[in-house]
């Protein structure tokens, strides 16, 4: 926009300029340094709070996450949940459409799944019920995601703010259904749905409760990777995200792409809601999404839309959460220490992005840092 400013006489102490690119190993290196710094900062904080050897605390975190077979599976369940949402967000973010509304899309998906369990639980065979739940959640999430896209495409309504508000409409909608389906009366929760029949619950596969969660999300992760990288749609998404001008030049219908992509994005978040209800909690509440819709935004952003990178980042975040909960209970802190540590680590990773995107040059020196 502005013309290039050059002031040669009084060169500032630090000058920065945009980089064109950076080798992959370097960008990973920069992020790892960020992560290491974050762990050091956290260690200092942990030490000042608990006066314990931070290394021991990290070891305890590890035990808390992977200590027992059951813990490992709960950890995996939570990782795939977060991953699923991030995978859903990937196409929207690649299109530079700020879908902050995953939280809401998960909830409406969850409502749809719970509704199927409650109303169809007795009339449909278990397998058919799960299939109906799957599609019901997908459609519900898809519609929830398409609404802001329509307003964006048609009237250019700010999608960040729109999707954000849609979350809270969905939360109230959930509260409405929670009150409606309340069981037992007066508890203000839905309770475990179909506790006796287990209709609509994911059946154990290979003797494990959460195998189906993993399978569904693994399929979605691979499919989304292929969709974004190899399909015609994925190509359109990339072009629209990069430049709408180029998209029009290439005869791409920008509005259609926006709506279609948000339908896909919302649908997958809806599926995440289905997994949360049918595959984990077997109930619905306003905390079914539990802020993971927001956390997943950070995962998707940091992974730069690569669904396989998302696996690693989801795992890191869930590990931190689990581990922090573990140290909290061991050292008499409360669970929220995990949110604080997650926050600090994300701050550092976000900050390290700068050194990947920008070159820094100090006054006097001709050398460019990090070049």
């Amino acid at each position: 926009m502005s013309k290039k400013h050059e002031v040669a006489s009084r060169e500032p102490l630090i000058r920065m300029s945009k980089r064109d690119g950076i080798p992959t190993w370097k960008s990973i290196g920069v992020r790892l340094i960020g992560l290491a710094l974050a762990l050091i900062v956290c260690a200092v904080i942990i030490y000042s709070l608990t006066k314990l050897n931070p290394l021991k605390v990290y070891a305890a975190m590890f035990k808390g996450t992977f200590g027992t077979n059951k813990r490992v599976w709960v950890t995996i369940r939570d990782i795939v949940m977060l991953l699923c949402i991030a995978v859903g967000l990937a196409p929207a973010f690649k299109m530079r459409f700020w879908n902050i509304g995953a939280e809401g899309q998960i909830l409406v998906g969850g409502i749809a799944a719970a509704a199927c369990m409650i109303y169809l639980g007795k009339s449909l065979p278990s397998f058919a019920l799960i299939v109906v739940m799957f599609f019901g959640s997908m459609v519900a999430g898809g519609i929830w995601g398409t609404i802001p896209a329509v307003f964006k495409a048609r009237w250019n309504a700010n999608e960040t703010l729109f999707t954000l508000m849609m979350n809270y409409v969905a939360i109230q909608l959930t509260s409405f259904f929670v009150a409606k389906w309340e069981n037992p009366f007066g508890s203000n929760t839905v309770g475990v749905i179909n506790q006796m029949t287990k209709a609509g619950w994911f059946p154990p596969v290979f003797g494990q409760m959460y195998t189906l969660n993993v399978i569904i999300v693994a399929v979605l992760t691979v499919a989304m990777f292929l969709y974004l990288r190899y399909s015609k749609h994925g190509y359109e998404i990339a072009v629209v995200g990069e430049s709408e001008n180029t998209a029009r030049y290439a005869a791409i219908n920008v509005k259609t792409v926006i709506k279609r992509t948000m339908a896909v994005s919302g649908a997958i978040c809806g599926i995440a809601g289905f997994i949360a209800v049918a595959g984990a909690s077997h109930t619905i509440s306003t905390s079914t999404a539990g802020g993971r819709g927001f956390t997943a935004i950070i995962v998707a952003w940091l992974a730069k839309f690569n669904t396989f990178t998302m696996i690693a980042i989801s795992a890191l975040i869930v590990f931190l959460e689990k581990g922090a909960i573990e140290i909290a209970s061991q050292f008499d802190l409360n669970d929220f220490v995990s949110e604080m540590i997650t926050g600090i680590i994300l701050f550092f990773i976000l900050g390290s992005e700068f050194f990947i995107n920008y070159k820094i040059r100090f006054r006097g020196g001709k050398k460019e840092a990090g070049k």
């Binding site: 002031v7 006489s9 009084r10 749609h233 190509y235």
Partner: protein
């Protein structure tokens, strides 16, 4: 005439990478004088003035203001030295009022004293004959009002030396007259004014002295009273240089594209193109000349379906076989569906023609990604194409998977042209195809265009270098202020004639077609 010198620039040199924008330029500006700075596109006028305004800093050379050596390191220092520049792209905040824009960043008082500003603005307006409503929001203003506001803003900040960068490019003749009137008043008041322009009649009308730049060099200055439009054109464009570009005689030219009455409005409701009529023939290269912003971009984009044209417009495409097709009012999608092989090399290579972050293969498929059945895009053919383009056009790249943004300008252009030509176009449009390219690459591009011409495609070549236009094209259409000023035979016309047509709209001219 007063002889005291307000600004003296001595041996100013400024380079951008390899390009020398100003080469040892010396220029004096007197007090109470209107100096016209004349030159073709890319002759270094704006760069030179930006160094006075503190936007750029010269690589070498000295600047004296009222005899004192100064260092203009920032726009703020320029203000302090009473230099004010009105840029082509206005630096105004849309949602603020005129008065608010005027005092922006000055922090004269803690609480904005609107009354005081209003009075001061009124005083300036009365002195020089402006009309500015201090309470009007900028988004409600016409282009000419915005320009007036920019001038008032600069005067409010105490400027004695005003630089106007192509101020008349966006004005109607009436508005131009008003501006000139104001400029004369300011001159009377002792201010020095530099006006950057291409328009010769305006130079003759308003200036006291003319300084001419060509390709970064200062060619000379003359008092306006001692020169005329033809002499200035000669100074500006220089002698014709022989480039030895191959040019074959068109074989069996058939009309390919008939444009009638093409009119395009921009979002401000200003006509960027008015009643443009012309025919492009298969087997010939039609050059489009004009000073920048005369409607070249809009012309090509309208044909490509990227600009909304007024309903009176007609753009007929006549294919080899079959019926003629109306392209006016169509989107690129519709044009593609009609099966019109229309290749377009836009001016903004990385912002429209290519996707900077994508690699060569992915950029090759921008036009063809829909081909082939199934939901997945075929990358084999684009990859082959990328290989072919890299080999045949000698694109220098680390590999096919390098993002095109990382290639040099010339290589980016080769990738773009290579892709567009690969679609075997019936109509090929290119905008500033050789801008920023070295000589060899330029000749490569000319050669490619000539090949398309020989294939029988209609080629429209929008260019800025008159020497190239004269030697490459068969006919040259000259645009002036969004109108077709004339279409001339490139083999018989002269550089002076085209230069003149670019800057001087024929009075009462009719937009007739000249047969090739």
């Amino acid at each position: 005439m007063e002889s005291s010198i307000a600004i003296r620039m001595v041996n100013i040199t400024k380079t951008f990478g390899e390009v020398v924008a100003n080469n040892k330029v010396c220029l004096d500006i007197n007090q109470s004088e209107i100096l016209a700075l004349l030159g073709e596109n890319g002759s270094g006028k704006t760069t030179l003035m930006n160094m006075l305004a503190g936007i750029y800093f010269p690589d070498s050379g000295e600047i004296f203001i009222n005899g004192k050596a100064v260092t203009i390191a920032s726009p703020k220092i320029a203000f302090d030295l009473h230099i004010g520049m009105i840029h082509q792209h206005f630096k105004l905040v849309d949602v603020l009022t005129a008065a608010e824009n005027i005092i922006l960043g000055l922090n004269e008082t803690t609480v904005v004293d609107v009354k005081h500003v209003r009075e001061a603005v009124k005083e300036i307006c009365n002195r020089y004959g402006f009309v500015v409503d201090p309470d009007k929001k900028v988004y409600d203003m016409s282009v000419s009002e915005k320009q007036t506001l920019e001038i008032v803003k600069v005067l409010y900040r105490g400027a004695d030396i005003l630089i106007l960068d192509e101020p008349t490019a966006v004005l109607t003749p009436q508005e131009t007259q008003k501006l000139f009137c104001v400029m004369r008043n300011m001159k009377e008041d002792g201010k020095s004014i530099i006006i950057i322009t291409h328009k010769l009649h305006e130079v003759m009308e308003i200036s006291d002295r003319v300084a001419v730049l060509r390709k970064g060099f200062h060619i000379g200055d003359v008092p306006t009273s001692e020169t005329n439009a033809m002499k200035l054109t000669e100074m500006m464009v220089g002698r014709a240089v022989s480039l030895d570009i191959e040019r074959s005689v068109p074989v069996n030219p058939k009309p390919k594209l008939v444009v009638k009455n093409l009119t395009v409005c921009d979002s401000d409701g200003i006509n960027r193109l008015s009643n443009v009529d012309f025919t492009a023939y298969g087997g010939e290269i039609l050059g489009v000349a004009g000073i920048s912003g005369s409607g070249q971009k809009e012309l090509l984009e309208a044909i490509a379906g990227l600009q909304y044209c007024q309903s009176c417009s007609s753009i007929e495409f006549l294919p080899e076989k079959g019926e003629k097709k109306q392209l006016s009012g169509m989107h690129p999608i519709d044009i593609k569906r009609l099966g019109v092989a229309l290749a377009f090399v836009p001016e903004d290579r990385l912002g429209m023609g290519l996707v900077g972050s994508m690699d060569l293969t992915d950029n090759m498929m921008l036009r063809s990604y829909q081909d082939g059945p199934g939901p997945f895009a075929d990358r084999k053919k684009p990859k082959q194409l990328a290989e072919t383009v890299v080999k045949e056009l000698e694109v220098v790249t680390p590999g096919l998977s390098t993002p095109v943004r990382r290639l040099s300008g010339g290589n980016v252009q080769k990738v773009l042209v290579g892709r567009e030509i690969a679609m075997q176009p019936q109509l090929l449009m290119s905008a500033y195809a050789v801008r920023g390219l070295d000589i060899n690459t330029s000749y490569n591009i000319y050669h490619l265009l000539n090949e398309q011409k020989k294939r029988g495609a209609a080629v429209i070549f929008v260019g800025e270098d008159l020497d190239v236009l004269l030697e490459l094209c068969d006919r040259i259409m000259v645009l002036c202020s969004g109108r077709v000023n004339d279409i001339v035979d490139a083999r018989t016309t002269t550089k002076d004639e085209v230069g003149y047509l670019m800057t001087y709209l024929k009075e009462g001219k009719t937009n007739h077609e000249q047969k090739a």
